[in-house]
Amino acid sequence: MRLTCPVCGDRDRREFTYLGHETYLHRPPAGAPAEAWDAYLHLRDNPAGLTRELWHHGSGCGAWLLVERDTVTHDILSVRLAREDTA
C-alpha cells in the first residue's frame, strides 16, 4: 500500500500509522452528554466500501492526513492534510 502525502509525495505505507475513522476530527464540546462521548470514542461503522480515515506521516513530515479509501478495492481516492479539512 502506498499513500501520496500532500507534503512529501508518493510514499510506502511503512512511513505511516493509522489512527481510525475521521470521527476523531469531530470532538464533542466540553460537557457534551455521555452518549456523544461514547459515539466519539467508541462507536464506529465497519463499511464495505468508501471510508474516510486518519493517518499520520510519522516517518515523514509529521502531517495528519485525511485519507479516502475503499475498504473493498483498497483504492486510495484522495489524501489531504487533515488541518485543511473543512467538512
Binding site: L19, L25, Y40, H56, I76, R83
Partner: protein, 972 residues
C-alpha cells in the same frame, strides 16, 4: 544422455559437483536436474507421504518432485529445486526425505500402506486410545512425513532486502516481456525487467523457434543487450513473488546460489519491494500433466520439459522416449526428439482427430521400480506394452495467472482454450501479455507484449512510439482436449495429481464422496496444492476431477485462492537486516562511551540504552544501586536524563495548547518557572506526565517520559492539526538536540554553582524555577526540578557538549563525596518518593487511581476531562498505595495482593505490585501498587504472592510517599 550439437551450455567449461557423494560431470550452464539427467540419473527424490521414487517433472521453478539439499553444514539449503539450482565446481547436492539412501528408503513401506493413508486418514485412524495421539501417533507421523530438514543452528548466510521504484515493471523475460520492455523503454519509461532464469528469453531458450531468421535464444540475447544499453534494469534469477496494494510488488533475487565461493558480503538472496506505476505480466504458462495410473515414476515428465532439456541443455532425458498428449503441443516434442536423433517409442493421443502416426488411445499404467521401464497403452487394439525409459506428457497449458489473483480476483474459465485466463483489471495497473494472457503463439506473444506495453504507457502519458514486430516462425494454435484421463484408480494403480503432497484422483473423489465438494474444502481435506509448489502443475487437474465427481462444470467449481508468494521466499530474506543489532535501532546518549568505560551496564529503555549502575570493585548490582541511592540522599549524585522527551512549543497560542493537553493550567505559569503536568488520553486514562518550563511569554519546553516521547509528540501534532488547526503554535521535538544531566542531593547547589556562571541561590533559582544560563562557557538551561525528592537541578546543554558535561559534573561530584548514579538508583529514589512512571501509568489507570484527580482543572476543558468523569472510573477502583514489607521479605513487581487469611484465588485478588525495591533509606523492601479502594486501607496488612517467582511476604499498606512526605528536602 547428452546430445552433441544441442544446448546453450558452455562445453568449453566442464565442471564437477557431487550428488549423494558421487562425482557428476556437468557443463557451465547446467542445472542440477539437467546434469543428472545427462548422466542418466532420473531418481532425484522421494515423495512426501508414500516415499515414492521421483524424478523431475519440469525444467523450471514449478518443480514438485526434484527437491534436494545443497551445500553442507549450517549453510545447507533444503528443498532446493534441482531444476532451478545452477551447478558450479564443487557444489554439494544431497537427496532428502530418504533413509538410508535414495534407492533403498525404508519409509517406502508407507507405499504398501497406501490403502490406509488416503485423504484425511489422520482424521479417521489413530483415534484410539486418545492419549496416544500426542505421545505416539503425531510424533511418529511428523517424523515420517515432511520434506528436507533444516540444518539447525543460526543461519550463517548474509541476506539482503532492497527497494526500487519504476514506471513499468515487466514480469518475465520471454518474447512478450522483451517486447514490452523494449516498447516501454523506447517511450522513455523507467523499466525494470525481472526473470526467473539466469538469462532472458523464456521459452525461446527451450524451443527451436526462429525469430527474424535467427535462433530464438540469439534474438533474445541481442534484445537483452539492447535493453541493457537503453537503461532497462534487468533482474535475472529474480522471481516476482507477489502483487500488493498500490502497485507494490515483491520479488526474490537468488543472488549467490550459483556462485562457488561468494564474497562474504554477497547476500544469498535479496528480497525486493518494487513500487511500479504499471506492471506488464508476461509470466508465460505452465504445462499440465495428465492424471493417468502410475504417472509418477522417474522418467515421466512434461512434454515441454523434455523439449527444454533437449534445446537448452542438450540432454535427452531417455534413450527411448514415448509421448502421451491431449493437445497438439506434445507432438512437437516427438518431432523435436526425432530431429535430434532420439528414438520416439510411441506417440499416444486420445483425441478422435489425433494426427496420423499417433496411437489413438491412452496410457493406463507404467512399469519400473526406481525409474520408468515401460508403459501400458489401451487403444482400439486392446492393451499393449511399450518399452521406454521416459514419457513426455502434455495435458495442455495453464496461463500463469497467479499474480493477477493476489488481490482477490479469480481467473476466468475460457472454454475455447480449456483453461483459466486472467480476469481483466484484476490488479490495478497490471496488464497481461503473451501466454500468461492465453496467447500461446510466439508471434502472438511478441505482438501482445508490444501492444500491452503501449497501452500501459498511454496510461502514464508516455510518448508514442513505433515498434517493429519481428517475425516468428509460426506454430499452430494449440488445441487442448480433456484435462485428465482416468483409469481404475485403486491402491495399486493410483493416478497422481499433486506429486509433492501425494494426492491422487482417488483422494479427490473420496473428498467429494464425503461431501467436501467446495474446492477450498477439498483442498484442505486432501492437502491438494498445499505443498511448497502450491499445486502449480496440479490444481487445475484436481478441480477438473472434482468438477466431474460433483457433476458441475469447471467454471462452477472454481479455483482455490492464489496467494503470494509465487515461489517459496526465505523468511531470512524478507527480514534481512533484522537480526542481531539490526533488530531495532539503538539510540545512544552522548555520554554512552564514558559510561561504558566506567563499567556501567547499558540497559535497554525502549530504543535507548541507559546506564544501570556504576559498579565499584566487588559490587554486584544491588550493592552498587544501594550505595548510589544513599549517596544522593547524603551528598550529591549525577545522572544523565537526556532520554526524556523534550518538545519545544512556541507561538501566541502555546499556552492554549498546554491548557488543552494537560489537566492542569499552564497559561498561569510565570516565565522562569516549571510546573508538573498530567496528560490524559481522550478516553480519560493517563497518557503521560512530566514537567513543562516557561522560558518566555510565547515559549515553553515540555518534558515527557522517555517511553512516551513519541506518543506525546504525535498527540500534540494531532491536537494542533486535527482539533485546533486555527491555533498559532509550532511544536518541535528537540529530544536529541539537548543533553540533560540531573544533579541531586544536599550538595547539588554547590556542584551546580561550580559550573554555572550566574548566581544559583534560593532567590535566583528557587524550587521549580528555570532559566537560561552559561554552563562552563556554553549557553544552556537550568531547571530546578527533582525526581529524587532531593534538592536537585537538571542542567541542559546542546548535545555536542553532553558527554563533556556529564564527565565534568561526575569528576566534581566525586570530589564532594558524590558521583554518578544509574537507572536502578534513580528508580529506588523515585519509589521512595512515590513518583509514578509507566510502571504505574500503564494505560489502564486514571488520574483518580493515582490520586491526582484534583489536578483536573474545573475551570477549563482538556483532553480526556469529560471521559475521566464516567462513574465507572470513579468508584470501586484499584487505587495507588505504598507497600512496605513487614516480615523482612522482598516485594516483587507483578506480585498480587491478598488478605492475610483469604484463599489465594483470582476472585479474592485485592490488587498488585507495580514497582518494588530495597529502600536504603528505610532499610527494607518497599513498593508501589494498586489496591482495591486502597486509599481507605492505609495501615492494613496483606499477603503479597508472586506465583511466577514463587515469592511471598507480608506487607503494610501506606501512602505512596515513603520518604520525606512533606517534600521539604526538595524545596529547601
Amino acid at each position: 544422455m547428452r546430445i552433441d550439437d544441442k544446448g546453450l551450455i558452455d562445453r568449453g567449461r566442464p565442471l564437477r559437483f557431487t550428488f549423494d557423494g558421487k562425482p557428476i560431470q556437468a557443463f557451465h550452464g547446467d542445472t542440477v536436474a539437467s546434469a543428472l539427467l545427462a548422466n542418466g540419473i532420473r531418481l532425484m527424490g522421494r515423495s512426501f507421504k508414500y516415499h515414492r521414487p521421483r524424478g523431475p517433472l519440469t525444467a523450471d521453478s514449478a518443480e514438485p518432485n526434484a527437491l534436494v539439499t545443497v551445500h553442507r553444514g549450517p549453510r545447507a539449503i533444503p528443498n532446493t529445486r534441482a531444476t532451478v539450482q545452477e551447478v558450479f565446481d564443487g557444489l554439494t547436492v544431497r537427496s532428502q526425505n530418504a533413509w538410508p539412501s535414495l534407492r533403498y528408503d525404508v519409509m517406502q513401506a508407507n507405499d504398501l500402506l497406501a490403502p490406509f493413508l488416503g485423504a484425511g486418514f489422520y482424521y479417521k485412524t489413530f483415534m484410539w486410545p486418545k492419549a496416544a495421539w500426542e505421545k505416539l501417533y503425531e510424533p511418529v507421523i511428523r517424523r515420517a512425513a515432511g520434506l528436507g530438514a533444516l540444518p539447525g543452528g543460526a543461519d550463517p548466510w548474509q541476506q539482503e532486502k532492497a527497494f526500487a521504484q519504476c514506471d513499468v515493471l515487466v514480469v518475465g523475460g520471454g518474447p512478450a516481456g522483451l517486447m514490452a520492455a523494449c516498447t516501454a523503454v523506447e517511450a522513455g519509461a523507467d523499466v525494470i525487467l525481472a526473470d526467473e532464469s539466469d538469462r532472458l528469453g523464456g521459452r525461446l531458450l527451450t524451443e527451436d523457434t526462429q525469430i527474424d531468421g535467427h535462433a530464438g535464444y540469439a534474438w533474445a540475447e541481442a534484445m537483452a543487450a539492447e535493453l541493457q544499453a537503453k537503461g532497462v534494469r534487468i533482474l535475472t534469477r529474480t522471481t516476482v513473488t507477489g502483487a500488493y496494494d498500490g502497485g507494490t510488488y515483491g520479488a526474490l533475487e537468488r543472488v549467490s546460489h550459483h556462485v562457488a565461493d561468494p564474497h562474504p558480503d554477497l547476500p544469498r538472496d535479496c528480497f525486493w519491494r518494487i513500487a511500479a506505476r504499471r506492471c506488464v505480466l508476461a509470466a508465460g504458462a505452465l504445462e499440465r500433466p495428465i492424471a493417468f495410473p502410475m504417472n509418477d515414476r522417474p522418467g515421466v515428465m512434461l512434454a515441454s520439459a523434455v523439449r527444454a532439456y533437449l534445446h537448452r541443455w542438450g540432454v535427452a532425458p531417455g534413450q527411448r522416449i514415448a509421448v502421451f498428449t491431449t493437445c497438439d503441443d506434445g507432438h512437437r516434442t516427438a518431432t523435436d526428439l526425432s530431429a535430434a536423433g532420439v528414438e520416439v517409442a510411441a506417440v499416444i493421443d486420445p483425441r478422435a482427430d489425433a494426427p496420423p502416426g499417433a496411437i489413438r488411445g491412452e496410457v493406463v499404467s507404467t512399469q519400473g521400480r526406481l525409474g520408468l521401464t515401460g508403459i501400458t497403452i489401451r487403444s482400439d487394439g486392446g492393451l499393449r506394452q511399450v518399452a521406454c525409459d521416459a514419457l513426455a506428457v502434455s495435458g495442455g497449458w495453464n496461463p500463469t495467472v497467479h499474480l493477477t489473483c493476489h488481490m482477490g480476483a479469480r481467473p476466468t474459465w475460457d472454454a475455447t482454450l480449456a483453461t483459466f485466463v486472467p480476469t481483466a483489471d484484476a490488479v490495478p495497473g497490471m496488464s497481461v501479455a503473451g501466454a500468461a494472457a492465453g496467447v500461446f503463439t510466439t508471434s502472438g506473444a511478441l505482438e501482445t507484449g508490444r501492444d500491452i506495453a503501449k497501452a500501459a504507457l498511454a496510461a502514464l502519458g508516455g510518448r508514442r512510439v513505433r515498434i517493429h514486430i519481428p517475425t516468428a516462425d509460426e506454430t499452430p494454435p494449440r488445441q487442448i482436449a480433456p484435462l485428465a484421463v482416468e483409469a481404475p484408480d485403486t491402491a495399486r494403480h493410483r493416478a497422481w495429481l499433486d506429486f509433492q503432497n501425494d494426492v491422487t484422483v482417488k483422494d479427490v473423489r473420496q473428498a467429494a464422496k464425503e461431501n467436501f465438494i467446495s474446492v477450498e474444502h477439498m483442498k484442505r481435506y486432501t492437502t491438494q496444492g498445499m505443498a511448497t509448489d502450491q499445486g502449480k502443475n496440479s490444481n487445475v487437474g484436481a478441480l477438473a476431477v472434482l468438477a466431474d465427481a460433483t457433476g458441475r462444470g469447471i467454471h462452477q467449481t472454481g479455483v482455490t485462492t492464489f496467494r503470494p508468494p509465487f515461489v517459496p521466499v526465505p523468511i531470512g530474506a524478507m527480514g534481512a537486516g533484522g537480526t542481531g543489532a539490526g533488530f531495532a535501532p539503538e539510540r545512544r546518549i552522548t555520554a554512552d562511551q564514558p559510561m561504558r568505560d566506567r563499567g556501567a551496564p547499558m540497559i535497554e529503555t525502549g530504543l535507548w540504552y541507559r546506564p544501570g549502575w556504576f559498579p565499584k570493585a566487588g559490587e554486584d548490582w544491588l550493592a552498587a544501586c544501594t550505595r548510589e541511592a544513599a549517596m544522593v540522599r547524603r551528598s550529591v549524585g549525577v545522572a544523565d536524563v537526556s532520554t526524556l522527551g523534550k518538545i519545544d512549543i512556541q507561538g501566541p497560542d502555546a499556552a492554549k495548547l498546554l491548557d488543552f493537553v494537560y489537566t492542569n493550567t499552564f497559561s498561569t505559569l510565570r516565565e522562569g518557572r516549571v510546573r508538573y503536568g498530567l496528560m490524559l488520553r481522550e478516553d480519560g486514562h493517563v497518557m503521560d506526565d512530566g514537567t513543562t518550563a516557561r522560558l518566555g511569554p510565547k515559549h515553553y519546553v515540555m518534558t515527557t517520559t522517555t517511553a512516551a516521547a513519541g506518543q506525546v509528540m504525535t498527540h500534540l501534532e494531532f491536537v494542533t492539526q486535527c482539533l485546533h488547526p486555527e491555533w498559532d503554535v509550532a511544536i518541535l521535538s528537540t529530544t536529541e538536540a539537548w543533553a540533560q544531566v540531573s544533579v541531586a542531593g544536599p550538595k547539588a547547589r554547590d556542584l551546580v554553582q561550580s559550573v554555572v556562571a550566574e548566581p544559583v541561590t534560593a532567590e535566583t533559582f528557587p524550587f521549580m524555577a528555570c532559566g537560561t544560563v552559561t554552563i562552563l562557557g556554553v549557553p544552556g538551561r537550568l531547571f530546578r526540578i527533582s525526581f529524587s525528592g532531593e534538592h536537585a537541578y537538571e542542567v541542559a546543554v546542546p548535545s555536542r557538549y553532553g558527554a563533556a558535561l556529564w564527565q565534568d559534573l561526575v569528576a566534581r561530584a566525586e570530589d564532594m563525596d558524590g558521583g554518578p548514579y544509574g537507572m536502578e538508583a534513580l528508580n529506588v529514589l523515585r519509589i521512595e518518593k512515590g513518583f509514578v512512571t509507566h510502571a504505574e501509568i500503564t494505560g489502564r489507570v486514571t488520574a483518580f487511581d493515582i490520586g491526582m484527580d484534583r489536578m483536573i482543572s474545573a475551570k477549563k476543558d482538556c483532553i480526556g476531562k469529560d471521559a475521566s468523569r464516567r462513574p465507572a472510573l470513579l468508584t470501586d477502583r484499584e487505587e495507588m498505595v505504598g507497600l512496605r514489607a513487614t516480615d523482612g521479605g522482598s516485594l516483587t513487581a507483578g506480585a498480587h495482593l491478598f488478605g492475610l487469611t483469604t484463599p489465594l484465588r483470582p476472585e479474592s485478588d485485592q490488587g498488585y505490585v507495580t514497582s518494588a525495591c530495597h529502600s536504603p533509606t528505610l532499610g527494607r523492601s518497599i513498593g508501589l501498587g494498586f489496591l482495591r479502594n486502597g486509599r481507605a486501607r492505609l495501615g492494613e496488612r496483606l499477603r503479597m504472592v508472586d506465583h511466577l517467582r514463587d515469592q511471598r511476604c507480608e506487607v503494610e499498606v501506606t501512602a505512596p510517599v515513603h520518604v520525606d512526605p512533606d517534600g521539604g528536602r526538595a524545596r529547601d
